[in-house]
Subunit: 357 residues, 2 copies
DNA sequence: ATATTTTACGAAAACGTTTTCGTGTTGACA
DNA sequence: TGTCAACACGAAAACGTTTTCGTAAAATAT
C-alpha cells in the first residue's frame, strides 16, 4: 500500500539531485553513463512513472479532451465517443465525459467544471434546451478564454469553431428519392418539432426530394412529434399518435422518419393495422442503430457514420491544439494568419434492408 | 483570446501578495474587509476560477474517477456510465472514460495511462480477453499503489476490491421458472461459452431452475454460441445456427437466452420457421435494452438495472476515497481496523412483455 | 605548468494553489 | 510611557515535474 515513487524519493535514495534523476531518465547526455544506468535501473525496479498532474501543471496542458453530450444511452452518441476515444488514444490523449442530459444548466456547469484547467479542449453536441433558448454565451466565453471547441451534429452558426456535421439534408433527399424510385406515391414524413437543427434539415430534405420530383407536399402527410417529453418511456403515446396518423391517411405508400424509433414504431403500428411491409408500405429511417438492424423486418436507414464523426472531430481538435504549440501565439491574434474554422460534412449512406423493396 | 487569470496576476494588479488574494477569496478573516471586498470584486470581474490542476497537485487528489469498460456502444454499459456520472457529479467528481475494447493489452495501457495521477480511483468491468487469460496482475498492482478499484458486472475473486454485481444466477432462475410456470415443457438455453463469468452463472441458474422443478436437463436443448467473433456483424451466422438448433429440436416450448441479441434472433428465426410467439414458443432474454423494448413482439427480459449498478459503484468508490481522507493512514495498513471489501448484489427484475404469456 | 575546454552534476525557477508562520503596525491597557 | 494583544498582511514551503544556468573537477591543449 505504498504510494507511487517520485523523483525526489529516487534522488534521496541514490544520493543525487532531483535534476540529475530527471535528466538521467530522459537519457540526457549531460549525465554520465554510470549514473544514468544506476538511476534507470532503480526507477524501473520501483516502477517509476512521472506524475501526470505535475506534468500538466508544468506544461500547461493536460493531454485530455472533454466530451460534452446530451445523453450517453443513445447509440449515435456512443459511437461518436468510440470514434473520439480511438483517435484520442492513438494520439496520446485521454477523454473525459460530461453529460448535459439535454439541460442548459447542466451544460454550463459541466463546461465550467472542465474548463478550469482539466482539459485542453472540448468536443460537444448542444443540448436541446440550449437550442431552444438560443443562448450560446457559455460556448463563446470558453472559446475566448483560449479553449478550442469542436461541435458535432447539433451545431449552430452563432458560435465560431470547427464543426463536424452529418449531411442531414442530402441524407433525407436520398432516402425520399429512394422511396419515390421504388414507386411510392404518397410519402409520409414523421419528424420532430423544428428547433433541433437536424430535424429541420431532414424535413427540408424531404420537401426538396418531393419537389424535385414534381410531387406536391401534403401537410396532412407530415406528422410532427413533440419529443420534449420522454418518448422512450411513453411509447404507447407515440404509437397511438402514429396509429391515428395512419388511419386518417390510408393512402400512405412510404414513410420517411427522422429517427430510428419513429421508423420502427411506424412499422409496428402499420403491421398492427394489417399493412404489409414492404409490400403495402415501405419505411426508411434515419440513424443506423441497433434497432434498425434487429427490427423485424429490418429497417432500411440513412447511416450517419457516428464513429467517423467522432474520429474527425478528435482530429480537428487535436490538430488545432498542436498547432497552437508550434505557432507563436501572435499568429492567432493576427487575423491574417489565423487558421480558419473548418466545417466538415460527413456524407450519409443508405443501408438497404427489408423495409424497402 | 486571453488566458485564464491567476492569483499571481490578481495580486500584481492590486498590489498585494498572492497569499492575501487567496485568503481574501476564501473569506479568511485574517484579511480586512476592505481588501477582501476589493479583491473579490476584481476576481469576479475577471471571472477568476482556481486552476484545477494546481489544486489537484497540491491536494494530491484529482476529484475524478476513471471508468474502464470493454465497450461503450452497448446499452448496458452506457446506462452504467450514466449512473456513475450522476452520482459522481452530485458528489463533485468528474469522470474519465477508457475503453479496453475487450483487449487485455488495451486494458493495461489504459490503466497505466490513468493511474499516474490522473484519477483517484477506478470503476471497471473486466475485458473478455483478460478473463480468458486469467491474468489480473495489473489490477492488483494498481490497488497496491494505493488506488482503489470498484469492479462491476464482470468481476473476479482473485482481486480484492469492492464489487457490484447483478444477481445473474437468480435472475436466470426466475426467468426459467417463469417459463415453467407458463406451461413450457421443453425449455432451451441459448448461451455463450463459459469463460465470461456472467454467462456461466446464468447457465447455472437455468440448470437450477429445471432441477428444482424436477425437469431433467437435456444437453441437446443447450446452444452455446462462440461470441469471440463479432456477432453483431455476423448476424446471418448467428441466425443460421439458431435455425439449425430449432430444426433439430422441434419440441421447444420456451427459450431462455443469456442476452438480448440471442433472444431477439431466436424470435426472428422462430417466426421465420412459422412458429407463433408466444403461442408456440415463449422467449425470455437477459439485459433490458432497446432491443427488448422495441422488438416485435416486444421481449420479456430480466432487467439488470445498469444505472443502479453505476450509482452504487460510484458511491462505493467515493465513500472509500473520502474515508481515506478522514482516517489516519495507519488504519488502512492495520488489518483490524480496515474496512472490509463490499460485494453488492443488485437484484434483477423480470419485465413482462409480449414474448411470454 | 598554465590556459582552456569538456564533463557531470546541482541549485533554482517555474507552473498555480493553499497554508503555516513570522512580523510590522496599531490600539488598548496599566 | 511601556507592554501586550489584535490586526492585516507577506514570505516561504509544498505538491512533482522539467529546464536553464552556474560551476567545480577533470581532461585536453598550448
Amino acid at each position: 500500500m505504498k504510494r507511487k515513487i517520485t523523483l525526489k524519493q529516487i534522488a534521496k535514495e541514490l544520493d543525487v539531485s532531483v535534476s540529475t534523476v530527471s535528466k538521467a531518465l530522459s537519457n540526457s547526455k549531460e549525465i554520465s553513463e554510470d549514473t544514468t544506468q544506476k538511476i534507470q535501473a532503480f526507477a524501473k525496479l520501483y516502477n517509476y512513472k512521472p506524475n501526470n498532474i505535475a506534468l500538466s501543471l508544468k506544461n500547461r496542458k493536460t493531454k485530455t479532451i472533454g466530451i460534452l453530450i446530451p445523453e450517453i444511452v443513445h447509440h449515435f452518441f456512443s459511437t461518436v465517443i468510440r470514434g473520439i476515444e480511438r483517435v484520442a488514444n492513438r494520439r496520446g490523449y485521454n477523454v473525459i465525459v460530461g453529460l448535459s442530459n439535454e439541460s442548459f444548466t447542466k451544460e454550463i456547469i459541466n463546461m465550467e467544471m472542465l474548463a478550469n484547467g482539466s482539459i485542453d479542449g472540448f468536443i460537444l453536441s448542444i443540448s436541446k434546451e440550449t437550442l431552444l433558448k438560443q443562448d450560446y454565451h457559455h460556448f463563446n466565453a470558453t472559446i475566448n478564454q483560449g479553449m478550442p471547441i469542436v461541435m458535432f451534429d447539433r451545431v449552430v452558426d452563432e458560435v465560431d469553431c470547427d464543426k463536424v456535421i452529418v449531411d442531414d439534408f442530402n441524407g433525407a433527399v436520398k432516402a425520399v428519392k429512394k422511396l419515390i424510385g421504388n414507386g411510392c406515391k404518397h410519402i409520409a414524413l414523421i419528424t420532430t418539432l423544428d428547433y433541433v437543427s437536424v430535424g429541420k434539415l431532414r424535413t427540408q430534405g424531404y420537401l426538396e426530394a418531393l419537389q424535385s420530383n414534381g410531387i406536391e407536399a401534403d401537410s396532412n402527410l407530415i406528422l410532427k412529434i413533440d419529443d420534449s417529453l420522454d418518448v422512450e418511456n411513453n411509447l404507447d403515446v407515440l404509437e397511438a399518435e402514429i396509429a391515428q396518423f395512419f388511419k386518417s391517411n390510408p393512402n400512405i405508400h412510404g414513410v420517411f422518419a427522422v429517427n430510428e424509433l419513429y421508423a420502427v414504431s411506424a412499422m409496428k403500428v402499420a403491421r398492427k393495422l394489417g399493412l404489409k411491409i414492404p409490400d403495402d408500405v415501405q419505411v426508411i429511417g434515419f440513424t443506423d442503430g441497433v434497432l434498425s438492424k434487429h427490427a423485424t423486418p429490418s429497417l432500411t436507414t440513412v447511416s450517419q457514420h457516428g464513429q467517423k464523426i467522432g474520429e474527425q472531430s478528435a482530429n480537428l481538435l487535436i490538430d488545432r491544439l498542436e498547432a497552437e504549440d508550434t505557432q507563436p501565439e501572435q499568429y492567432f491574434t493576427n487575423n491574417e494568419q489565423k487558421r480558419d474554422f473548418i466545417k466538415l460534412v460527413i456524407e450519409t449512406e443508405i443501408i438497404e434492408r427489408e423495409s424497402t423493396k
